[in-house]
């Protein structure tokens, strides 16, 4: 295993550990300006997680440096989505997740260019689904860094799994099945958004 994914995994673990202590998402005395607010929102939003996991399913086996560029693009797109959240339609995140999920179901192997487009889409979906109420620098930095680290960790883990000889027979099946779960979640939450219920 490369040291970089291991570093990313450790950074993510530290991020999660740091966030486990108490409820910083809204704070005891109202919304606090903390860089940890964004990870809390992102990691407790099923749609955000579905977008990032779906991205790893579609870009399964993508290598560095393309995986890092994809993760960075996803992070930048998530930051942009957080900054522009009031202007974005509610169905953006579910629609993005449905596209990514269907790409996984179809076992599509995108070119590097399309991989980056999908990474941007996943970042937009993850960022808008996290639903951060305010877009101060703490939240923007938090969401960008969290999406970058989480996406890179997922892509690096997927690349490691793709080398496992034992899992080769089940990996194509697992990608399609997990992709259908991602699509189903996106469709259902898209319907909720269209029907005007809070997702």
């Amino acid at each position: 295993m490369w040291p970089k994914p291991r570093l990313a995994a450790s950074a993510l673990a530290a991020l999660a550990l740091g966030g486990c202590g108490s409820a910083w998402a809204h704070g005891i005395a109202g919304a606090t300006a903390s860089i940890w607010t964004a990870p809390h929102h992102l990691l407790t939003s099923p749609l955000s997680l579905a977008a990032l996991i779906g991205l790893a399913l579609v870009l399964f086996g993508i290598r560095e440096p393309a995986s890092f560029i994809a993760a960075a693009l996803a992070g930048a797109a998530a930051t942009l989505a957080t900054a522009l959240l009031p202007q974005l339609p509610g169905v953006l995140a579910p629609a993005g997740v449905v596209v990514i999920g269907l790409a996984a179901v179809a076992a599509w192997k995108p070119s590097t260019g399309f991989a980056f487009v999908l990474a941007v889409l996943a970042g937009l979906a993850a960022g808008s689904a996290a639903e951060l109420e305010q877009a101060r620098w703490q939240e923007l930095a938090g969401i960008g860094i969290t999406v970058l680290v989480a996406a890179f960790w997922l892509l690096a883990s997927a690349e490691n799994l793709s080398h496992s000889a034992r899992l080769q027979p089940v990996l194509p099946l697992a990608r399609r099945v997990l992709g259908s779960w991602i699509t189903a979640i996106g469709l259902l939450l898209g319907a909720l958004a269209v029907l005007g219920r809070h997702a």
């Binding site: 291991r6 995994a9 409820a23 939003s45 579905a50 883990s157 259902l188």
Partner: protein, 214 residues
């Protein structure tokens, strides 16, 4: 001595240890999500758990999901993945119907019938054509989704509830596929056919209104 043996970083043992570290991070993330304080008042974890438990709590849902996996595994490729892929996608259609209040008659009967039909298909080792198998699973998926969907709007966190019941359903399919792999062992096919007969019998019992259960 070959290259792998010379470089300990490339040894299978080291690679295995390397793979475990990201998994440890994933476990930490799971622990983090248990707090689930970012959105509704502790409702994300509650909503997820509620959705996750819904297919597991009802024996009709549980048996039908496992039966889909077993049937797909016995039919082989492409249905081994096509059935578990089609089911959640069509289940969502039923779920949306349930959320939006579109009436669907005989939902409970349809769910019980799905257990009977899928059980009989396994018991008879029916090699259904791809389109027929997909159509059967799709129709029953709508009934199951409708039942989940009608409960969804009342939960604290609909997003977490939806994710919970989709993941739970998928895991039951995978459990069914794992059971279906028994076909490769001696007498495995007979075991699977017997399990299909038992599932069909349970479905008939549910269809009859579960006599003997208070």
């Amino acid at each position: 001595m070959n290259h792998l043996a010379k470089n300990p970083a490339h040894s299978p043992l080291h690679q295995s240890a390397g793979l475990r570290k990201p998994h440890a991070a994933a476990l930490l993330l799971l622990l983090c999500s248990a707090a689930a304080q970012a959105h509704t008042e502790g409702g994300v974890a509650g909503g997820f758990l509620s959705g996750f438990m819904h297919p597991l709590a009802g024996i009709d849902h549980l048996l039908a999901m496992v039966a889909v996996g077993i049937w797909g595994a016995t039919l082989g490729r492409p249905l081994v993945w096509a059935l578990p892929v089609a089911f959640p996608l069509l289940m969502v259609v039923g779920g949306i119907m349930g959320i939006s209040g579109v009436p669907l008659p005989y939902v409970e009967t349809g769910i019980a019938a799905s257990v009977v039909v899928l059980g009989l298909a396994i018991a008879a080792a029916w090699r259904a054509p791809v389109a027929v198998a997909l159509a059967i699973v799709a129709v029953f998926g709508v009934f199951h989704g409708f039942a989940h969907g009608t409960e969804l709007p009342e939960t604290a966190s609909p997003a977490a509830y939806a994710a919970g019941f989709v993941i739970s359903t998928g895991l039951l399919h995978l459990a069914g596929i794992a059971v279906g792999l028994l076909k490769a062992v001696p007498r495995g096919a007979q075991l699977l056919r017997t399990s299909g007969a038992l599932i069909a019998a349970a479905g008939a019992w549910i269809l009859a209104g579960m006599p003997g259960v208070a």
